[in-house]
Amino acid sequence: MAECGDRLHFCRLTQLTIQRENLMQLLDLFTALEASPIGAFVKDRGATFATIEAVHLMALAALGGTVLVTDLRLMNLVLKDVPSRRIALDAHKWFKAALGVLLVTGFFMVAGVATKCYHNFYFWVKLTALAAGIVFVFAIKMPLLRQDHELLRPATLKLVALASISLWFLVAASGRWIGFS
Protein backbone atom coordinates (compact mmCIF):
# COMPACT_ATOMS: atom_id res chain seq x y z
CA MET A 1 0.00 0.00 0.00
CA ALA A 2 2.81 2.35 0.99
CA GLU A 3 4.71 1.36 -2.15
CA CYS A 4 1.68 2.22 -4.28
CA GLY A 5 1.44 5.64 -2.58
CA ASP A 6 5.15 6.26 -3.17
CA ARG A 7 4.76 5.38 -6.83
CA LEU A 8 1.79 7.76 -7.19
CA HIS A 9 3.81 10.49 -5.46
CA PHE A 10 6.73 9.85 -7.85
CA CYS A 11 4.40 9.99 -10.89
CA ARG A 12 2.90 13.27 -9.66
CA LEU A 13 6.36 14.76 -9.09
CA THR A 14 7.46 13.67 -12.58
CA GLN A 15 4.31 15.20 -14.09
CA LEU A 16 4.88 18.48 -12.22
CA THR A 17 8.53 18.55 -13.37
CA ILE A 18 7.49 18.05 -17.01
CA GLN A 19 4.85 20.79 -16.72
CA ARG A 20 7.41 23.15 -15.19
CA GLU A 21 9.94 22.37 -17.93
CA ASN A 22 7.29 23.08 -20.58
CA LEU A 23 6.48 26.42 -18.92
CA MET A 24 10.19 27.27 -18.75
CA GLN A 25 10.50 26.52 -22.46
CA LEU A 26 7.62 28.91 -23.13
CA LEU A 27 9.30 31.59 -20.99
CA ASP A 28 12.55 30.98 -22.92
CA LEU A 29 10.62 31.52 -26.14
CA PHE A 30 9.20 34.84 -24.87
CA THR A 31 12.64 35.93 -23.61
CA ALA A 32 14.20 35.09 -26.97
CA LEU A 33 11.42 37.00 -28.77
CA GLU A 34 12.08 40.13 -26.69
CA ALA A 35 15.84 39.84 -27.26
CA SER A 36 15.41 39.27 -31.00
CA PRO A 37 15.98 42.07 -33.56
CA ILE A 38 12.16 42.45 -33.82
CA GLY A 39 11.82 42.91 -30.05
CA ALA A 40 14.77 45.32 -29.96
CA PHE A 41 13.35 47.29 -32.91
CA VAL A 42 9.98 47.71 -31.18
CA LYS A 43 11.42 48.45 -27.73
CA ASP A 44 14.43 50.61 -28.46
CA ARG A 45 12.97 53.10 -30.92
CA GLY A 46 10.68 55.53 -29.15
CA ALA A 47 7.83 55.96 -31.63
CA THR A 48 7.77 52.41 -32.98
CA PHE A 49 5.62 50.88 -30.25
CA ALA A 50 3.23 53.85 -30.27
CA THR A 51 2.85 53.70 -34.08
CA ILE A 52 2.23 49.94 -34.09
CA GLU A 53 -0.24 50.33 -31.21
CA ALA A 54 -2.10 53.06 -33.12
CA VAL A 55 -2.51 50.75 -36.14
CA HIS A 56 -3.50 47.91 -33.78
CA LEU A 57 -6.19 50.07 -32.17
CA MET A 58 -7.54 51.21 -35.56
CA ALA A 59 -7.79 47.58 -36.67
CA LEU A 60 -9.48 46.76 -33.35
CA ALA A 61 -12.00 49.54 -33.99
CA ALA A 62 -12.66 48.15 -37.50
CA LEU A 63 -13.05 44.62 -36.15
CA GLY A 64 -15.33 45.88 -33.36
CA GLY A 65 -17.39 47.75 -35.95
CA THR A 66 -17.91 44.64 -38.09
CA VAL A 67 -18.78 42.54 -35.03
CA LEU A 68 -21.22 45.15 -33.71
CA VAL A 69 -22.97 45.81 -37.01
CA THR A 70 -23.39 42.08 -37.69
CA ASP A 71 -24.45 41.08 -34.20
CA LEU A 72 -26.75 44.05 -33.53
CA ARG A 73 -28.46 43.33 -36.88
CA LEU A 74 -28.87 39.68 -35.86
CA MET A 75 -30.47 40.94 -32.62
CA ASN A 76 -32.76 43.03 -34.84
CA LEU A 77 -31.64 46.30 -33.25
CA VAL A 78 -30.04 48.16 -36.20
CA LEU A 79 -30.34 48.32 -40.03
CA LYS A 80 -33.62 46.43 -39.97
CA ASP A 81 -34.31 47.20 -43.63
CA VAL A 82 -31.15 45.39 -44.85
CA PRO A 83 -31.14 41.55 -44.96
CA SER A 84 -29.06 40.21 -42.07
CA ARG A 85 -27.38 37.57 -44.27
CA ARG A 86 -26.10 40.24 -46.64
CA ILE A 87 -24.71 42.31 -43.73
CA ALA A 88 -23.06 39.23 -42.18
CA LEU A 89 -21.36 38.21 -45.44
CA ASP A 90 -20.23 41.74 -46.38
CA ALA A 91 -18.94 42.55 -42.89
CA HIS A 92 -17.06 39.26 -42.70
CA LYS A 93 -14.65 40.37 -45.47
CA TRP A 94 -13.70 43.44 -43.42
CA PHE A 95 -13.57 41.31 -40.27
CA LYS A 96 -10.94 39.04 -41.87
CA ALA A 97 -8.86 42.03 -43.03
CA ALA A 98 -9.01 43.68 -39.58
CA LEU A 99 -8.17 40.39 -37.87
CA GLY A 100 -5.10 39.96 -40.10
CA VAL A 101 -3.84 43.46 -39.23
CA LEU A 102 -4.58 42.84 -35.52
CA LEU A 103 -2.61 39.58 -35.46
CA VAL A 104 0.43 41.05 -37.25
CA THR A 105 0.56 44.28 -35.19
CA GLY A 106 -0.24 42.32 -32.02
CA PHE A 107 2.76 40.05 -32.62
CA PHE A 108 5.06 43.08 -32.97
CA MET A 109 3.60 44.69 -29.84
CA VAL A 110 4.14 41.51 -27.82
CA ALA A 111 7.70 41.22 -29.16
CA GLY A 112 8.63 44.51 -27.48
CA VAL A 113 7.33 43.53 -24.03
CA ALA A 114 7.27 39.73 -24.27
CA THR A 115 8.51 38.84 -20.78
CA LYS A 116 6.14 41.37 -19.18
CA CYS A 117 3.26 39.84 -21.15
CA TYR A 118 4.31 36.31 -20.16
CA HIS A 119 3.83 37.13 -16.47
CA ASN A 120 0.58 39.03 -17.04
CA PHE A 121 -2.58 37.02 -16.28
CA TYR A 122 -4.79 39.17 -18.56
CA PHE A 123 -2.48 38.60 -21.52
CA TRP A 124 -3.34 34.90 -21.31
CA VAL A 125 -7.03 35.74 -20.82
CA LYS A 126 -6.84 37.83 -23.99
CA LEU A 127 -5.06 35.13 -26.00
CA THR A 128 -7.55 32.47 -24.85
CA ALA A 129 -10.53 34.71 -25.68
CA LEU A 130 -8.95 35.56 -29.05
CA ALA A 131 -8.45 31.90 -29.92
CA ALA A 132 -11.99 31.09 -28.79
CA GLY A 133 -13.34 34.07 -30.80
CA ILE A 134 -11.55 33.02 -34.00
CA VAL A 135 -12.69 29.40 -33.69
CA PHE A 136 -16.25 30.52 -32.87
CA VAL A 137 -16.46 32.86 -35.88
CA PHE A 138 -14.97 30.48 -38.46
CA ALA A 139 -16.38 27.18 -37.17
CA ILE A 140 -19.78 28.17 -35.78
CA LYS A 141 -20.97 31.68 -36.57
CA MET A 142 -20.19 32.07 -40.27
CA PRO A 143 -21.19 28.54 -41.36
CA LEU A 144 -24.51 29.19 -39.59
CA LEU A 145 -24.96 32.68 -41.04
CA ARG A 146 -24.28 31.47 -44.60
CA GLN A 147 -27.53 29.54 -44.40
CA ASP A 148 -30.83 31.18 -45.22
CA HIS A 149 -31.72 33.23 -42.11
CA GLU A 150 -35.44 32.75 -42.74
CA LEU A 151 -34.96 29.06 -41.96
CA LEU A 152 -33.13 29.70 -38.67
CA ARG A 153 -34.80 30.35 -35.33
CA PRO A 154 -34.55 34.06 -34.33
CA ALA A 155 -33.55 32.96 -30.80
CA THR A 156 -30.55 31.05 -32.21
CA LEU A 157 -29.40 34.10 -34.20
CA LYS A 158 -29.73 36.31 -31.10
CA LEU A 159 -27.84 33.81 -28.93
CA VAL A 160 -25.00 33.50 -31.47
CA ALA A 161 -24.82 37.31 -31.70
CA LEU A 162 -24.70 37.67 -27.91
CA ALA A 163 -21.94 35.05 -27.62
CA SER A 164 -19.95 36.75 -30.38
CA ILE A 165 -20.25 40.23 -28.84
CA SER A 166 -19.30 38.96 -25.37
CA LEU A 167 -16.26 37.07 -26.69
CA TRP A 168 -14.86 40.03 -28.66
CA PHE A 169 -15.66 42.40 -25.78
CA LEU A 170 -13.54 40.17 -23.53
CA VAL A 171 -10.70 40.28 -26.10
CA ALA A 172 -10.78 44.10 -26.19
CA ALA A 173 -11.31 44.57 -22.43
CA SER A 174 -8.53 42.19 -21.36
CA GLY A 175 -6.26 43.82 -23.97
CA ARG A 176 -6.78 47.21 -22.33
CA TRP A 177 -6.43 45.58 -18.89
CA ILE A 178 -2.88 44.38 -19.79
CA GLY A 179 -1.78 48.00 -19.84
CA PHE A 180 -3.13 48.72 -16.36
CA SER A 181 -1.98 45.58 -14.52
Binding site: A132, F136, I140, P143, R146, R153, A163, S164, L167
Partner: protein, 54 residues
Protein backbone atom coordinates in the same frame (compact mmCIF):
# COMPACT_ATOMS: atom_id res chain seq x y z
CA UNK B 1 -23.73 31.00 -54.71
CA UNK B 2 -20.19 30.11 -53.61
CA UNK B 3 -21.08 31.16 -50.06
CA UNK B 4 -24.09 28.89 -50.11
CA UNK B 5 -21.91 26.02 -51.38
CA UNK B 6 -19.38 26.77 -48.65
CA UNK B 7 -22.12 26.68 -46.01
CA UNK B 8 -23.40 23.40 -47.38
CA UNK B 9 -19.87 21.98 -47.31
CA UNK B 10 -19.21 23.13 -43.73
CA UNK B 11 -22.47 21.81 -42.38
CA UNK B 12 -22.37 18.67 -44.52
CA UNK B 13 -21.46 16.54 -41.50
CA UNK B 14 -24.62 17.70 -39.74
CA UNK B 15 -28.09 18.44 -40.99
CA UNK B 16 -28.81 22.22 -40.92
CA UNK B 17 -31.15 21.72 -37.95
CA UNK B 18 -28.52 19.75 -36.00
CA UNK B 19 -25.90 22.38 -36.79
CA UNK B 20 -28.26 25.09 -35.56
CA UNK B 21 -28.75 23.21 -32.27
CA UNK B 22 -24.97 22.74 -31.90
CA UNK B 23 -24.41 26.46 -32.57
CA UNK B 24 -27.11 27.47 -30.08
CA UNK B 25 -25.70 25.16 -27.39
CA UNK B 26 -22.13 26.39 -27.81
CA UNK B 27 -23.32 30.01 -27.84
CA UNK B 28 -25.35 29.47 -24.67
CA UNK B 29 -22.26 27.94 -23.02
CA UNK B 30 -20.13 30.93 -24.01
CA UNK B 31 -22.74 33.41 -22.72
CA UNK B 32 -23.05 31.54 -19.39
CA UNK B 33 -19.26 31.44 -19.03
CA UNK B 34 -19.03 35.18 -19.74
CA UNK B 35 -21.69 35.97 -17.12
CA UNK B 36 -19.77 33.92 -14.51
CA UNK B 37 -16.43 35.48 -15.57
CA UNK B 38 -17.65 39.06 -15.26
CA UNK B 39 -19.38 38.38 -11.92
CA UNK B 40 -16.07 37.02 -10.56
CA UNK B 41 -14.17 40.03 -11.97
CA UNK B 42 -16.60 42.59 -10.52
CA UNK B 43 -16.68 40.85 -7.11
CA UNK B 44 -12.85 40.75 -7.17
CA UNK B 45 -12.56 44.47 -7.94
CA UNK B 46 -15.16 45.31 -5.27
CA UNK B 47 -13.21 43.23 -2.75
CA UNK B 48 -9.94 45.00 -3.61
CA UNK B 49 -11.62 48.41 -3.33
CA UNK B 50 -13.05 47.42 0.08
CA UNK B 51 -9.57 46.33 1.22
CA UNK B 52 -7.99 49.55 -0.08
CA UNK B 53 -10.54 52.07 1.19
CA UNK B 54 -12.17 50.21 4.07
Amino acid sequence: MSNLMSATRTTAKFSPRTFEIVAATISAGIVLFMICYWIVQIVGVAHMLRLAYG
